[in-house]
């Protein structure tokens, strides 16, 4: 909590690759020892977060869903303001009414779109629309065909909304670039990847993540990203074939278990099992849930670790290739941590039917605070507040598609 603002501008930082101009006549100055890296601090309390969350949930129920925009805003305010970097807290200045208006605009555009579809169908067929084609089917399919590619567009617009409402030391963050370009990129890569049996995943990930990171701003400066798909292809190929192998082994193990159960003298046929399940007694229900749990455990033990091995590697790579001004970011998140994180989050949400939401948010915030290291110092004179830039309303489509709960 010292005043580092003025001092840091005069000293050249210990920075690999940055050549400090040294006057030829002066004796060579020893470089100051590099400062230790800093971490984000999250000092939110689970109980407080629960009060905010349950309160907005209660009001959401009582208003039949209309309060959720304001509830989501207050949860974000709590989370953002309990994160701090270099001793200063983050700020979230979004408003519930903005989310609400965004929602109304999204619903309005869907209505206009469906009206246009209705008009076109009427123009094309008039009253002679064949009876087996239902009007509702046409409208649903039109919305799915147009809506699914729009999802990444809405996602990018949502990030932009959240970033333009975020500030640190009074300076706003932001996201430049076009959500339409990003949406087309995501859709194109998705199609190419599907045609190539997911083998271009690293190229897609680096390309999309690079677009996002390079367009992120703090004040008037953009973040940078220097990732190359070639760097992570080796690990990805390893993951790709390990994943296939893991699935083969899983199918093998499951068929051995099922075969063993049904061939033992006391075993039951599939029909007998269904018959038992149709007239459940407590013990049948208990066995039923135990079997489901066993299957999920098998997936969690055999498939998930391979996936986490790749996820952790990919996260470490993407974070370490991003920079801002003279700041570099490093995370040491491990396969085991990601695995434990995902498994416990899943269990919490499943067993609390969503009421564990704040707990998962809390765990996520703590993981970020524990695992993100920031090297270097920010040069206050190099960054200035950006003029304008905030869009009026946001996240409408995202809310309509029902994704993202924070």
């Amino acid at each position: 909590m010292t005043d580092q603002s003025l001092a840091s501008a005069t000293l050249p930082p210990a920075w690999p690759g940055a050549s400090a101009p040294v006057a030829p006549t002066a004796p060579p100055q020893p470089l100051p020892p590099p400062k230790p890296p800093v971490q984000l601090v999250y000092d939110g309390k689970l109980g407080e977060l629960y009060v905010i969350y349950l309160r907005s949930m209660l009001l959401t129920l009582l208003t039949f869903g209309w309060y959720r925009f304001w509830g989501r805003t207050s949860v974000r305010r709590y989370l953002w303001s309990h994160f701090s970097a270099f001793g200063d807290r983050f700020e979230y200045r979004g408003l519930g009414i903005e989310l609400f208006l965004g929602f109304l605009i999204a619903v309005g555009s869907i209505l206009v779109f469906e009206g246009a579809v209705l008009g076109l169908v009427w123009l094309a067929w008039g009253d002679e629309l064949p009876a087996e084609i239902g009007m509702t089917d046409i409208m649903t399919w039109a919305l799915i065909i147009v809506g699914l590619p729009l999802l990444p567009v809405a996602q990018y617009a949502g990030w932009r909304y959240r970033l333009t409402r975020t500030a640190w030391r009074g300076i706003r963050t932001g996201l430049k670039g076009s959500s339409w370009s990003y949406g087309f990129m995501a859709m194109g890569w998705g199609m190419v990847n599907a045609m190539c049996m997911n083998l271009v995943t690293p190229v897609r990930d680096v390309s999309l993540n690079g677009y996002r990171t390079r367009h992120m701003t703090f004040g008037n400066l953009n973040f940078g990203f220097a990732g190359r798909a070639a760097d992570i292809y080796g690990r990805f190929i390893g993951f790709y074939f390990l994943n296939i192998l893991a699935w083969v082994v899983l199918v093998f193990v499951v068929s051995i278990i099922i075969g063993g159960v049904s061939s033992t003298p006391g075993g039951m046929s599939f029909e007998q099992m269904m018959e038992k399940l149709a007239h459940p007694t407590p013990i049948v229900l208990l066995i039923f849930f135990a079997v489901i749990l066993a299957f999920y455990t098998l997936v969690g033990v055999m498939i998930l670790p391979v996936r986490c091995w790749w996820m952790a590697y990919s996260i470490r790579y993407m974070v370490s290739r991003a920079w801002f001004d003279r700041l570099q970011f490093v995370t040491g998140v491990t396969t085991r941590q990601i695995w434990g994180f995902l498994v416990l989050n899943y269990l919490i949400l499943l067993f609390t039917l969503g009421l564990g939401g704040p707990w998962v948010m809390h765990r996520t915030a703590r993981l970020i605070a524990q695992q993100l290291w920031i090297y270097g110092e920010i040069d206050p004179q190099a960054v200035a507040q950006a003029m304008g830039g905030a869009t009026g309303v946001g996240e409408g489509l995202l809310d309509v598609f029902d994704v993202g709960s924070v």
């Binding site: 909590m1 010292t2 005043d3 580092q4 603002s5 000092d43 309390k45 109980g47 407080e48 629960y50 009060v51 905010i52 349950l54 309160r55 949930m57 209660l58 129920l61 039949f64 869903g65 207050s74 305010r77 709590y78 303001s81 309990h82 270099f86 001793g87 200063d88 807290r89 700020e91 200045r93 009876a131 087996e132 239902g134 509702t136 640190w168 030391r169 009074g170 300076i171 703090f218 004040g219 018959e275 399940l277 149709a278 007239h279 459940p280 899943y346 949400l349 499943l350 039917l353 969503g354 939401g357 998962v360 920010i378 206050p380 004179q381 960054v383 200035a384 507040q385 993202g404 709960s405």
Partner: protein, 368 residues
Amino acid sequence: MAGARFYDGLHPTAYDVVLRASTAEVVATLADGRILARWPVSEIEVVSDPWQEPHALMVCPRQPGARLAVEDLGYREALAVLAPNMARVAPRRSRVTPVLGALVAALALTIGTMAVLIERAPDAVAPYVPYSMERRMGAAVVAAMQGDSQTCEKAEGVAALQRLVDRFQVASGHPQKVTVRIIDMYEPSIGNGRERKRRVVNAFAAPGGYMVVMAGLIERADGPEELAGVMAHEMGHIVHRHSVKALLRAYGFGLVTKLVVGGFSSDVGTVADAGGLLLALRHSREAEREADRTALQLLDATGMRADGLARFFGKIMDEQGGKDGAQQMGVFSTHPPTTERIEATKRPPTGAPAMTAREWQALRAVCD
């Protein structure tokens, strides 16, 4: 964080400042005595949220973009009393444990009330759903069923069935006339299609008083009593508005689970949906029992021979090789066990015939 921090709104610089405040102005001074902000109290706006944020953020239009952040509780309490517009500087965080307890209780009460409402409200609300709306929904359902199947429209046969149903409608006191549609639908053929396609044996009560009868049912019924039994059962569904109630219940359950589960995990949603489906099936079985009871009342009220329903159930069970499919399906079945229904609907073979022999012949030939 002792003291306060000043951000100039131009660069990401944090200045540790000392605040001096009077009822007239707030002054932020650096350690070396330099003054960074001198803001009249009346012009200060508190932009932070005293409920959610651990610090107070003040802004002043005299220095656009600049912020004063105060975290120290003593400072904040002192600043809050300077003027009404400064009240939000003070933290308003409530004590977690009692508030949490109250919230959990209120939530449990709300969700419990809603659950009871979902169980009970459809029965009370269904009569108030506008008939025109119900009629439109029913027309859409019937149109979808007609699809590429043949609709049987021989006037004499349709009229015979309509007369039978009209008698039940009058006896039940149901205010709206029932519209009968006969559809010749076949079960989807499996295999090479060489075996004869089987007709669907069924009847449905769609919303809006539409009664859809499959030609297979007329073909399979031995005599008008069996058909009359099934028609009286479907009339029971119409009288009790079972289709509308089921729709309302599904809608209400979907709304509440969506609100509670939120947008977290699709698996959480799946668990909730599975629960909802089992609940809906239980209501469906209960509705079938109610329709069976009403069917017997209607048959008695019109003085018809009432043994057809139980006989028809028995025949269907025999054709399945004596197995009770609904009983085997248990909690996954839309209908109660057939043996239970046979027991409940057994009647002696006495009473007036459901229709004349001539009418019955015309109805048998309705699809030709």
